[in-house]
């Protein structure tokens, strides 16, 4: 939709080939941030939303159900100051990260191994599909019986969710590697080792990263659900505990914390995948 702006300089219009279109350009994201109109509008939207919440609370809606900004944010701030927020958030992140590591690593290895064979893939497909689609959170009660309600439970839950996502993507990703790519490397003189490490794995990596973009939020969901079902720490526990003690300020403050987490995780994931898949996202030419 947007028109390429690369052919406007006079000295470039004389060139036949598309070469000038590909000279590296300063990237937009590198530009120094400065407030723009839409940032101001965003601020307004927030203020209006909070104001109407504050005003309707206790009048239109029962205070107990929705609390009010003037109570939620002081609560939130008190957690920030006391370090309580950091304690719970870091617990959630630590468990999600460990689960991601364990589940992702295992998923990658198993996916690579099983993905080598067309035939194995066909045999395994229905089992993979069933486990992939099944609500893995339903395994939490089982996991509780197995490993109790400590950190192991949360890590295991996140790992189980991540494993299937990463495995599924690696498995089908590695089978999607272009035969042409493999053949071309073999003809160039590549060994089986070259093919695996220079073609197969890097190819599958796109899929793995695609999986990670799904897996990171899912890992956090898994940990949060586990924290709500059993446990004594983490942001999920914070929500459940405050809701469980009818403390709507605390409930909303905890949900607000999760909102921020969601936002930060998304931005982080964009950053990580953009860096890792530089070669993929950087198509400046159409």
């Amino acid at each position: 939709m947007s028109v390429s702006t690369t052919v406007t300089e006079p000295d470039k219009t004389t060139t036949d080939s598309a070469a000038p279109a590909t000279a590296p350009q300063p990237r937009r994201s590198r530009a120094r941030w400065r407030p723009r109109l839409h940032h101001f509008v965003q601020l307004c939207v927030i203020v209006v939303l909070l104001a109407s919440w504050e005003l309707s609370a206790g009048r239109l809606i029962d205070d107990l159900l929705t609390s009010r900004p003037s109570e939620v944010f002081p609560t939130f701030w008190s957690w920030v100051v006391s370090g309580e927020l950091l304690y719970h958030a870091s617990s959630t992140f630590k468990d999600a990260f460990l689960g991601l590591l364990a589940g992702g690593g295992l998923g990658l290895v198993v996916g690579c191994v099983l993905g080598q064979s067309q035939w194995l893939a066909r045999v395994c497909e229905p089992f993979i599909t069933a486990f992939y689609t099944m609500p893995k959170h339903a395994l939490i009660p089982l996991f509780i019986m197995w490993v109790g309600i400590g950190s192991e439970l949360r890590v295991l839950t996140a790992a189980a969710i991540v494993f299937f996502l990463v495995f599924y993507n690696t498995f089908f990703g590695i089978r999607d590697v272009s035969k042409n790519l493999v053949d071309s490397v073999r003809v160039m003189g590549g060994t089986a080792f070259d093919v695996l490490f220079r073609v197969m794995l890097p190819s599958a990596l796109i899929w793995v990263f695609a999986a990670l973009k799904l897996a990171v939020p899912q890992a956090i969901v898994g940990v949060v659900v586990a924290e709500m079902l059993a446990g004594d720490r983490g942001l999920g526990f914070l929500v459940a505990m405050h809701a469980g003690t009818f403390n709507s300020d605390g409930t909303f403050a905890a949900i607000f914390a999760l909102l921020i987490v969601g936002f930060l995780v998304d931005r982080l994931m964009n950053l990580v995948t953009r860096r890792a898949l530089l070669w993929k996202n950087n198509d400046t030419t159409a």
Partner: protein, 277 residues
């Protein structure tokens, strides 16, 4: 059937007897339990020669390249490289396929360096060679870019550099410019001729564009008449090795060659049996 235009070839290679790089003898090939795609194919590619395979879609042009690359075995007959039967993947060829086989996660320079790295050439040597080839194909500014950042034409040139950098005895090219627009194709024809001429590279080039075949090749083999198909006609193109593909079409005699190729191509579309009826 060998139709040769009357004009004498001006390049010395065309007349001297030369070493045969690639050769098939009574070769037949097919897939699964289906009948032969090609049968009784005898063809030769001499050292330093630029041979184009021209033919309708599905006639088996890519199949011949795959045989040469050792990615496929014949059903019958011999497929020889440097006089010896091809038994495994033939790493003495460079293969430039129609699809983009640049590794998208490697920069242009890293892609071009790949064959040398896999051949364990010393790092410094690799760097020199890569610079040389990139400069030669006007890619020096794109060295650090990823394939997705290149235009179609630049990608083709990078592939060409990667296929040629390890100095393969035979360069296989399968409709390498089919997806490009006319202007870029013209530019690349010039680049290719220049590169081939300066390195004395032997080329086996597949196309279904008769002008492309006539503009580039020393010799054109028209494949077709199947199934099973074979070499339906052969042409020697007389314009010599230093021709300019951009102006060649306006030279005397070129239109004639084009017309003859067109007729041969039309005939090659009809199965042999029908032709005989």
């Amino acid at each position: 059937m060998t139709i040769s235009t009357k004009e004498t070839a001006t390049s010395p290679q065309a007349t001297e007897p030369r070493r045969v790089v690639f050769e098939t003898q009574g070769m037949a090939v097919g897939f699964g339990d289906r009948p032969d795609v090609l049968a009784d194919v005898d063809l030769k590619v001499h050292a330093g020669e630029f041979v184009a395979l021209l033919g309708p879609s599905g006639c088996g042009k890519s199949t011949i390249l795959n045989l040469a690359a050792g990615l496929l075995r014949p059903r019958r007959g011999e497929v020889l490289f440097d006089g010896r039967p091809i038994t495994g993947v033939n790493t003495s060829v460079g293969y430039m396929t129609q699809d983009d086989t640049l590794l998208p996660w490697r920069t242009v320079a890293a892609n071009v360096a790949l064959p040398l790295r896999m051949r364990k050439v010393p790092k410094q040597r690799i760097q020199q060679e890569v610079s040389r080839y990139l400069a030669f194909l006007d890619l020096q500014h794109a060295a650090g870019l990823y394939p997705a950042q290149l235009s179609g034409g630049m990608r083709r040139r990078a592939l060409l550099a990667r296929s040629m950098i390890y100095d393969p005895e035979l360069l296989l090219m399968d409709e390498p410019f089919a997806a490009l627009d006319a202007q870029m194709r013209q530019q690349l024809h010039a680049d290719l001729r220049r590169a081939v001429h300066s390195t004395q590279q032997t080329v086996l080039f597949v196309t279904h564009d008769l002008t492309e075949a006539a503009v580039l090749a020393d010799r054109v083999l028209v494949i077709g008449g199947g199934p099973p198909g074979g070499v339906a006609a052969e042409f020697t193109i007389p314009f010599g090795a230093e021709r300019d593909p951009a102006t060649l079409p306006y030279e005397d005699g070129f239109a004639r060659i084009q017309q003859e190729l067109q007729e041969a191509l039309t005939r090659a579309r009809v199965p042999k049996q029908k032709e005989e009826e």
